[in-house]
Amino acid sequence: MKPSRTSKAKPAGGKASSEPKYRLRLYVAGQTPRSVQALSNLQRICEEHLAGNYKVEVIDLLQKPQMAAGDQILAIPTLVREIPKPARKIIGDLSNVERVLLGLEVLPAGS
């Protein structure tokens, strides 16, 4: 894991789709165990339930503190669903998969 920006975009099934369905932003503050935990939880959930149709951006507020105000970030870690609109926020280490999916308004895969 890189501390700064980790982008993952997988065009589903090889079909050309420039915009992924989900664009997510994870705000962390340095390499704290909680941040690491949140990122690995997020990656797992995305792999399992978003079927590659997503893009995640990780923002470290220690390096870009000015980013905090724009998205009204208070709690760390905070996951922001930028697309689709309206924006949603999930705070915490994302350890509860069901609540994360509920927050992202994503139906669990295989249901």
Binding site: Y27, A29, R34, Q37, A38, N41, L61, L62, P65, Q66, A68, A69, Q72, I73, L74, A75, I76, P77, T78, P86, A87, R88, K89, I90, I91, G92, D93, L94, S95, N96, R99, V100, L102, G103
Partner: protein, 571 residues
């Protein structure tokens, strides 16, 4: 009973070991806390909705940025930046200008519970980062958090919130910024979520109450660790210039006294007051029932001050400036010209227009601005309008003291009841230096005014009662007619005087007659004397002729004998 304002002795502010303080710049507040709020520590300002706590915080920041060279950060949890900017613009606080000048940073922290889901552990590092960023961006020395309690509405994990708030306040202390944290008053607690547990250095409580349909705001310093502070409830108000806490000046009985005298504007009254009028800087009270001429006396004093080229202020609670000028012209006092020349300011306001403290702060502002040497409150009892008696005596004391402290002569009129002339409803009579009493007496179907000097500290003064006349040329004082064990005034006195004049005339005529008669007798005697003198003259002549004849006859006889002897003895 007038209550003296108890103020702790100001030792802490001057002592070297005292707690460093940051002046808020809020009028009056720094006086009651002897310097402001604790420097580099958080201070909690709590109170109910609309009590002015946000304003307190913003004024603290604005004054810091504009007057003390300390930039500030405003972290708002409840109102958006635009709302805040608009709300305080009416008080003359231009937040966008301060932002542009990099003297203030404003961040609006907003949480909408409906768009946030919580899962797993989190902390509020994001808030710290934002606050830190804002502090660094302007080099802030002052911080306002308004109010972090809003977080409790947005986040459900109160355990995390509490520990994070505790960490936040500790962090602020480490940063060395002076912080004001606001909190909404809860049921039975100072703040809804117990912020007072974390912010324990200085706690200020703001309240507003409705009394006699008038709102009064109160401020109290509940706690101030390591410092003395005034423990009373202090009235405060919010006006065009922000917050003012009363007393706006410190109160002590140490004003400079003057031995200079100022004229009362009435020569006869000056005469009664040891010949030279009131002391400059003293307080003069005139009490009397309705229509006894209290305002006219006030106008005389103001007129005298303006004639001497001094400024004066006339606060009226019953008449408009135009009315006062017109009415005083009818007794020959032209106040209009002094207003035109800028020497006199007449301020009229209904006593019920606002609370007592608002009146006082307005007066205070006008006194500071106009710097009058003579101040009239007409009537001081008018102030009673919106407040309880307890408030009044304290407040009146403050204004009387303030006028004194400014070296101005205070002239207060007070309305008294017909049957109880020597008590004023606001019990200030013991505070004043000179107390004049006007009363009506009703005799022979007419009312006449009498003036007494009840007391006048530090000068010889007349014990005489004078009749007080309002003429088209101003107030005249006449000696009353004392006779037959009665004081005669008005037409009774006039009638008596007319009778005196008739008596005098009659006597004068009689005297004239006697004089003529005596003169006639005298003339008769003198005529007699003249006749007798003429007679005397005649007798004198006859006598001398007779003597002469005798001598010549004797000579002739002798010569005849000689001739005879010579002829006989021809021998």
């Amino acid at each position: 009973m007038p209550r003296l304002i108890e103020m702790p002795v100001n030792k802490a502010a001057s002592g070297t070991q005292s707690l460093p303080k940051t002046p808020t710049g809020i009028a009056g507040f720094d006086e009651i806390t002897f310097g402001g709020i604790p420097k580099g520590r958080p201070t909690l300002v709590c109170g109910g909705a609309g009590c002015g706590k946000t304003l307190f915080g913003i004024e603290f920041l604005v004054r810091g940025a504009t007057e003390f060279g300390e930039p500030g950060v405003l972290l708002s949890f409840e109102e958006s930046v635009q709302d805040l900017v608009m709300n305080v613009a009416s008080l003359g606080f231009d937040l966008p200008r301060l932002q542009r000048a990099r003297k203030m940073a404003i961040d609006y922290v907003y949480i909408d519970k409906s768009e946030i889901a919580e899962t797993g552990e989190y902390d509020l590092e994001g808030l710290f980062i934002r606050l830190n960023g804002a502090i660094e961006s302007v080099g802030a020395k002052r911080v306002l958090l308004d109010t972090p309690e809003a977080l409790f509405a947005g986040l459900s994990d109160t355990g995390v919130l509490r520990s994070e708030l505790r960490r936040l306040f500790r962090w602020l202390k480490e940063k060395g910024v002076t912080a004001v944290i606001t909190g909404e008053r809860g049921e039975g607690t100072l703040t809804r979520h117990g912020l007072e547990e974390y912010v324990s250095d200085c706690v200020i409580l703001l309240e507003h109450r409705v009394q006699n349909d008038t709102v009064t705001r109160r401020l109290r310093v509940l706690k101030y660790r390591g410092s003395t502070h005034g423990t009373n409830e202090y009235p405060f108000l919010i006006d065009q210039k922000g917050i003012s806490v009363l007393p706006v000046t410190s109160l002590s009985l140490q004003h400079q006294v003057s031995t200079r005298r100022v004229s009362s504007g009435m020569a006869a009254l000056d005469e009664m007051l040891g010949g030279r009028g009131y002391y400059r800087g003293s307080s003069v009270l005139v009490t009397g029932t309705a229509g006894t001429g209290k305002s006219s006396m006030a106008a005389h004093m103001v007129d005298a001050a303006c004639r001497g080229g001094e400024r004066a202020a006339y606060f009226s609670f019953e008449e408009s400036p135009g009315q006062i000028i017109r009415n005083m012209r009818s007794v020959g006092i032209d106040l209009g010209r002094w207003v035109k020349r800028g020497l006199l300011r007449i301020e009229s306001v209904r006593p019920t227009a606002f609370g007592m403290e608002m009146h006082l702060v307005r007066m205070h502002a006008i006194l500071e601005e106009h710097r009058p040497k003579a101040v009239v409150l007409d009537p001081i009892t008018g102030l009673v309008g919106g407040s309880s008696e307890h408030d009044i005596s304290g407040m009146v004391l403050r204004i009387v003291d303030f006028i004194k402290a400014k070296g101005a002569t205070g002239f207060f009129t007070a309305l008294t009841a017909e049957d109880d002339l020597q008590s004023t409803s606001i019990s200030i009579s013991s505070l004043v230096d000179t107390w004049l009493l006007l009363r009506n007496i009703e005799v022979n179907g007419e009312r006449n005014r009498l003036l007494y000097i009840l007391k006048s500290r530090g000068m010889a003064h007349s014990n005489q009662v004078r009749e007080f006349l309002l003429t088209s040329k101003g107030v005249r004082l006449r000696e009353v007619y004392l006779g037959e064990g009665n004081v005669l005034t008005g037409s009774a006195r006039v009638a008596r005087e007319a009778e005196d004049r008739r008596e005098e005339l009659r006597r004068r005529r009689e005297d004239g007659r006697r004089e003529t008669a005596l003169r006639a007798s005298l003339a008769a005697v003198q005529a007699k004397i003249a006749t007798l003198q003429a007679e005397e003259q005649t007798f004198h002549q006859d006598l001398s002729e007779a003597v002469e004849q005798g001598v010549s006859r004797r000579k002739a006889v002798a010569s005849d004998r000689d001739a005879l002897e010579r002829s006989r003895g021809g021998r």
